[in-house]
């Protein structure tokens, strides 16, 4: 809500803020419907229009993101101010229905053309149809934009913000083009140092090392890897600079400048060193344990875990030392969000860690359940007043989500095969081990997941999205923004984001009814319980394992 703040304040007496919420909800609903109805193909090889779009994505998507972000950074606030000023000057808003009627008409055309061009082979779809599809999409979006900011006001806004938008687009385009250089020109500047450092560390260990600077390969005891662009160090440095840049901006009031700027080179150096450590660990894992585990499971997971660890460490440093922070934290204190978030984060973090050493079946998955349960036990006193008890409404909501989940999150062939492999692996384990693993999985699904996820999303996030001091917001306090965003984020954490979004929305509605987190947990528990029963009874294990 904060990004709309000035505009909302400026237009408090005008109908625009309410209109924007309505149009935003309409756009989101249309987006959900369209992306559910029309999917891009899963592989890039093919002749359809969808395949062509998929092949273009790696080029177009980064460009769009770079330009949009740069424009938002340069002109976002200015645009917001100008829109607020323009609509505040208007005495009354033009009628909405002509725009909506025209939008409904173009939407129907867009749906028809989408079905036509997505299904057809590219050659048969023809350039005219594709251009028609693009034009209808733009008109469709333009009509929504015109309904949000009437053309009379829009002209003035565009005129006044053209400069910042133009410079923003230019910076975005330059950043995108610069990014494309890393593969060729800029690799050597950092990649060779990464390569040399990895080799230097490996040489300390007893064993044979291999090193080829020209081919960018380094190895140990017969296991050789090529250091790709992503592993040269640029990726980590770029990500950490964005993270720190956003942190410096958001917490600028409590940071001490120019000292805080030192965090940027410090972060770049630490993340580069962590990347060297990750590659060394990967090579050792591949040489001594399993090459397949090293390059599939460990590679990406270790990258994220190292990145999270470095980011958190830098935040702790930034808040602890007076050199960086105006109100450096003392030794005594507590973390208000920890009881709400830590159980879920531990489950995810431990799961990612054990998953980094597993190929398909993760034998150590129960460890995440044990650690998550321990965190819940540690904070048990904090959950006493959250309204634990029976509720027929919550049970009904849990059944409703189960019924929604079945068609919306039906496991695809890959998930079904993965579940089948897990089941086969369990059958090959000693009986005691298999039973213990399954028991932990049942406890994790039925008890831990509902508790940890509801505490985080409904107990914490719903309130944190309303106020920084979330504890001052009563549990069950409703705003459209927190309701939609928390449900959307909950959805994104699940394989089927739409099913997750709807589930999150239903659990939030259950919570609003009596202001009890316990009701949302009960509903979630019922859904998960029914899914486990269904998966076992119907032998459709992809819904669970």
């Amino acid at each position: 809500m904060s990004s709309l703040g000035p505009a909302l304040r400026a237009g408090r007496e005008s109908p625009f803020p309410r209109r924007w919420l309505f149009l935003g909800a309409l756009a989101v609903a249309e987006g959900i419907a369209l992306t559910s109805a029309f999917d891009l193909p899963s592989g890039a090889d093919g002749g359809s229009f969808g395949h062509s779009l998929l092949r273009l994505t790696p080029f177009v998507l980064p460009a769009c993101i770079a330009i949009a972000t740069a424009m938002a950074l340069f002109g976002g606030f200015e645009l917001q101010r100008q829109v607020a000023a323009a609509v505040a000057r208007m005495r009354r808003a033009p009628a909405l229905w002509p725009y909506l009627a025209a939008h409904a008409f173009t939407l129907a055309g867009f749906v028809f053309l989408t079905s036509l061009v997505f299904d057809a082979e590219l050659g048969r779809a023809g350039a005219a149809w594709v251009l028609g599809w693009l034009a209808t999409g733009l008109v469709n979006f333009g009509l929504l934009a015109a309904a949000a900011v009437p053309p009379a006001a829009l002209r003035a806004v565009l005129w006044r913000t053209a400069g910042v938008a133009g410079s923003g687009s230019l910076v975005g385009l330059l950043a995108w083009q610069a990014g494309r250089l890393t593969d060729s020109a800029l690799w050597g500047a950092l990649g060779q140092s990464t390569l040399a450092c990895v080799h230097a560390v490996l040489r300390v260990l007893p064993g044979e090392t291999a090193f080829d600077a020209a081919r960018r390969t380094v190895g140990y005891d017969g296991f050789t890897v090529e250091i790709g662009t992503g592993c040269s160090g640029w990726e980590g440095i770029g990500l950490i600079l964005v993270f720190l840049g956003a942190y410096l901006w958001y917490f600028r009031a409590s940071l001490r400048f120019p000292g805080a700027f030192l965090l940027l080179p410090l972060g770049a150096g630490v993340i580069w060193t962590a990347n060297v450590a990750r590659i060394v660990a990967l090579i050792l894992l591949g040489a001594r344990f399993s090459p397949e585990v090293a390059v599939t499971a460990f590679h990406a997971r270790a990258g994220w875990l190292f990145f999270c660890a470095v980011s958190w460490a830098l935040v702790v440093v930034a808040r602890r030392f007076r050199f960086f922070s105006r109100d450096a934290a003392g030794a005594a204190g507590s973390y208000a969000a920890a009881p709400w978030l830590l159980p879920l984060l531990l489950v995810m973090g431990v799961g990612m860690t054990t998953g980094a050493f597993a190929l398909g079946f993760d034998a150590f998955e129960p460890l995440a359940v044990v650690v998550g349960a321990a965190a819940l036990w540690f904070y048990r006193d904090r959950y006493a007043g959250l309204g634990w008890g029976w509720s027929w409404t919550a049970i009904g909501a849990g059944v409703l989500v189960f019924l929604l989940w079945l068609p919306l999150a039906a496991p695809d062939a890959e998930s079904a095969a993965r579940a089948e492999r897990t089941w086969t692996t369990l059958a090959d384990l000693p009986a005691l081990g298999a039973v213990a693993w399954l028991l932990a999985k049942v406890v994790g699904t039925l008890l831990l997941a509902p508790l940890a996820e509801e505490l985080a999303f409904r107990g914490y996030l719903l309130r944190r999205l309303q106020a920084k001091s979330f504890e001052s917001v009563p549990v069950g306090s409703f705003t459209v923004f927190s309701f939609l965003v928390s449900s959307l984020l909950f959805g994104l954490l699940h394989e089927s984001w739409l099913a997750g979004f709807l589930a999150g929305a239903v659990y939030a509605l259950v919570l609003y009814r009596r202001g009890r987190v316990g009701d949302a947990v009960l509903a979630h528990l019922v859904t998960n319980g029914l899914l486990v029963l269904y998966a076992v009874a119907e032998n459709d294990l992809g819904y669970w394992l």
């Binding site: 494309r180 662009t229 980590g236 901006w249 940027l264 590679h299 990145f307 204190g333 920890a338 394989e495």
Partner: protein, 73 residues
């Protein structure tokens, strides 16, 4: 707005824009993680990315929610 404040704001924007540009230096890498000699380039796992980002921002929310214990008289 005083001149110093305006300058400070411009400086912050410059830092953010530079960070953004440097991040995109790495963008092609993000699309082709891997490149090892053992196995073809694995696809980016969107589920893993979502969990990792949740982990990152969840940790950040915890770390920034610290409150000092009041000293008793």
């Amino acid at each position: 707005m005083p001149h110093a404040q305006r300058l400070a704001r411009r400086a912050r924007r410059a830092v953010l824009a530079t960070s953004l540009a440097l991040a995109w230096l790495a963008a092609p890498g993000a699309a082709q993680i891997g490149g090892t000699t053992v196995q073809p380039v694995p696809e980016i796992d969107s589920g893993l990315t979502a969990r990792a980002l949740a982990l990152l921002f969840g940790g950040l929310l915890i770390l920034t929610s610290r409150r000092e214990l009041k000293k008793s008289a």
